[in-house]
Structures are given as structure tokens and as C-alpha cells.
Amino acid sequence: MQPASCLFCDKSANPSKTIMIYENYNAIKPLVLKEHGFFNNRFGLFHHDRIISTPLGSKVKEVKEKGYIYTLTTTPELWTKGISMRTQILYRADISMIIGNLNIRPGSIVVEAGTGSASLSISIIRSLLPHGKLFTFEFNPGRAEEAKNEFIQLGLENNVVSECRDVLENGFSHAGYTEADAVFLDLPCPWNAVEKAKEILKVEGNLCTFSPCIEQVQKTCQMLRKLDFQEIKTVETLIRPYQARTNEKGNLSIQMDAEQERLHTGYLTFAIK
């Protein structure tokens, strides 16, 4: 059973919880709190106890009272920003589209391969709480292990099964579920995995594949048509960041924030069994 409240709603910074430390827009990192612990960053030395004594969302000073950080509740969006990257990862624009179009909701059974750095996994788990479950497969033993440890550290282990497995060879079946509501594939050759994915998808279940190159998308779409998937749809989605500030004349000036812009991530292909 799901604990009464998951970490994505934490209001207070309790020992052994994972919170996010905000230094600035481009420096946000997770922190596991320990009584009497401390950590160092460019602003100085910070005591965990000082963080633990204040609600999340507080400004907390370092020991010399000069530099400061903000403490934040862990959310999948912040987690993705602060992640330790073991692979290429998915970012929020694609993640939102995946969760939304796969229609993942409380109670969903979702299957994913490969786990990679679990950037997407954390968002999937949030959406299927409290009783749904994610089955995520990764054939690299080190990455599978790290993902598993992260899920436990975040207190999400009741809602995810993380297994080291080559899905092209061994498919997606698992004793923990009979049919999946949705399957997501982020693999080099998704077209080789969609037939096996179809076997475990429920009728009207949703499939999504992510591929950076259009040639991969073409192969995937051809295979999806052959397998009689419906509603095959490919999209590219991006976020265009802006900045706004009041200029010398007192007018609000809005400008593109080119530095923060990602120009291409990949194509998302959706289909329904």
C-alpha cells in the first residue's frame, strides 16, 4: 500500500527524505537529509539540521550566514532538472506529452523500456499513484540497479518494479501484471519491440515510442501499420523559453531565451492497439 502521503506532497523536510536544493535556475540538486549532516556547495557549508527545522520552500543560510539556498519539495520536474545522467534522458516537454497521450492516471499499469536514468519513470509513477504500477526494464545491470535504489530512496518502491532485462530477447511479460494500459519505448530500435509490446497491451491500450531520428520513426510507423495499430500519430514537441523584464523606459520587454532553448529532442509516435 502507498504511504499516506508521497514525497511529491512533502511540506516538511524530515530526516531520510529526499528534497531538492535550489541554488539557481540551472543548479537544482536532490539532497537526502540526515540528522547532523552537512553539505558544501559554491555558497558555503550548510547544516541539514537547519534545513530540517524549516518548512520546505524556505530560504536557508550557510553557516557563515552569507550564501543561501532554497529548499523545495521533490517533484518529477525538479528531479529531471537535477538528475544524475547515466544516459540521454527525456525532458519535461516530451514527458508531459507522453503521460498525457498515454492517458496515464491513478491506477494505471504501465510498462517501460529502457529505464535509462529513470527521468521519465519518476513522472510516470507520480501519475499512476496510489495503486497503479510501473514495470520498467533496462538491460544494463548498473543502470537497472541504480534506478532501483533511487525508487527505494524516494519511497516509491510499492509502485514500481525495476528489472534488468533485454526486452528484445525476453519481451515484457511479468508475473506482476496481466495486461498493460500503456507501453512506452525509448530504445535504439523500437520497431523490433512493438510486436512483443502488443502482446501485453490491453485492447485499446496506448503505445508510445521515442526516437531522435526520422529514419527510426519511419521504420516504427511501418511496423505499427503492419501490426494493425490504430491512430498512429507522430509529433515533435518543444518548449520555447522567454524572459521578461522592465527596461529603462519602464516598459515590459519580452525576449526569447535562446540559451535555455532545446532545438530538437526527438519524435514521439503514438498508437492504439
Binding site: S5, C6, F8, C9, K11, Y22, Y25, I28, T54, P55, L56, G57, S58, K59, V60, Y68, Y70, T71, L72, T73, T75, P76, E77, L78, R92, A93, S96, M97, G100, N101, N103, R105, P106, R126, S127, L129, P130, E204, I214, V217, C221, Q222, R225, E231, I232, T234, V235, T237, L238, I239, R240, P241, Y242, A244, R245, T246, L252, I254, Y267, T269
Partner: protein, 327 residues
Amino acid sequence: MSWVVLQVMSGPRSLVQLRGKVKVGKQFVKLSPELLYNRVYQVKNGEPELASGEDTYDGPVTGDNRGFIDDNTAQTLTSEEIIEIRNSEGGEALINTLVQNSKTFNMKTQFSQEKYLRKKKNKHLALFKILRATPGNIADTQYSQKPSKSIRSDALHNLLALGNIHSDCAVLVYDDIGGILLGSVLEKTTGTVSVVRHAHYRDHNLKYFGIKVNSERISHVLPENPAGTYDSLIVASQEPLKEILEKYLPLLRPSGTISTYSQDLMQVAIVYEWLIKETLAVNVCLEEIWTREFQVLPERTHPNMNSRQGSSGGYIVSGNKVISEIS
């Protein structure tokens, strides 16, 4: 009875119930709960009939169109004759006759023949399908009819993610898009959801989500409610956003998420600057959501050109609330 999206092939989308008759192109068809989702039907004598597959041509491009003259005289049948044949012999017979009477059909490359046939089929067989009324489908359907009173699904999905919407999260919703945001939040959570019933408040879209307007899961918020109650403040409005946030931000707890959508860049920009200047939030982000759909076929892959909605899905400003007194 639940609602579904009726998609007329290469035509409009609308929300309907699976009973009675609806118009598909120029013909009426009887809908019933037995219809399969996501399958293409054609209309035959007012009844739906599963259409044979879309038989997309999966081969390479062959032939060329050097002899092709596009002078609108390619079709020798008049429009009166066309209607006459469709009424007396049916859609499929009509398409065969159209092909036989087209001077240019045989000069077309294989894929433009297919494109021609698909267009004629959509039109004369009255092809349609029904889709589940998911939050994304509801939003896109309403957006295709009244963009200023809705939100495109890509923006909706980002808004919900940035709002940290999930089962046990305490959400405060400000909905100016007829209940699409409220309905989506209710579908993604399990407890009660608080909504601000402001001057323009409407919730006529809630029925599409299968939610009654007087549902026990919806509660009413006032600015006087106790401060710091909510984990998430989520807004979709074309009204001055800053005024909305000034009123309701105090109800959000520290480190709660702010996630607001508008089609007016100026409104989100004002909020962006204000949140940063007053240090009301960190991780403040102002962005446009950009999405493009592709046709993917061998040697014919390109962005879709029939999307009249353009590539912009509107603007979102988001952030995480902080308290600035120092500890």
C-alpha cells in the same frame, strides 16, 4: 450516457453521445454504443459499417507527373452527375466512376493516386471514427471549435505536469475554459479538488469527463480560506493573470507549484516578472508550447499541413513558491 469524440475523416471533430443520428459530411448516420473505438466506419444507408483498412501505400515513389496539366478539366463528370450517382449507386461505385472519368488519374504517381482516392473516399463514403473522450481529446476538440475558450492538449499536458497534479495532491483550480482544466484535474486526482467560482466561471465541459457539476469531489474556494492549504495552484485564463495570483497565491503552501496558462503572452510575462522581482517563487519559467505533427510514410515524411491550429499551443508561466524570510 458517456460522451465520445466523433472524428470525421479529414473533417471536423465534435463531442457526441452514442445514440441518435449525427451528420458526417453530407450524410446522417445512426450512432450506437456497439461502435468500436478508433476504427474507421463508412456510412451506408444511414448505418455505420466498418470500412476496409486505409491501405496506405508503403512502397517508394514511382512514376512522375510530367504530362499533368492542372486546368480543372480533369474530371468530366459534372457535380450534378456526381450527386446523382452517389445517391443511386452508392459511394464506392461513385469513386470508381470518378476514377474512370478522370483524365489525369493514370498520369499520377502511385502515391498521388492514393491521396486522390483517400480524399474521394473521405468525402463520398462519409468516413468517420469515434475516439475516447480523454482530457487531451476533449481539449483538442474544443480547441478546434473555439480556440480562445479552450487549451490545446500539448499545453494542457505541460500545465498539469508543472502543476504536479497527482492522486493525493491538494489542488486549487482557476478555470476559465469551461471546466476543461477542472475536469482534467479531477481525472488525474482521487480526492476533492477546490475550484474558484469567479465571475466568468462556467463548467459546461465537465459532462464530457463524466463528472456531474454538483459532484462531491468539487469544493468551493474563497480568497478568505486559510493560507497555505494547497500543494498546487493551477490556472487557465485569458483574464489578467497577476490579479488572479495576487488573490490566490497566499492559499498555496511554501514550495507548492504555480502553473498558469494563457494565450496572451503579455499576461504570463507580467506574472513572470512579478514572481521574480518580489521573490515570490523560484525556478520561474516562461515558455511557449510548440508542437508539430508529422505525416510519416516511406519517402513522404513531412510536417502535416492540414493542421489549422498552427504550431503554438499558448504560454505557461510556472514556478515553486518560496518564503523569503531567512532561517
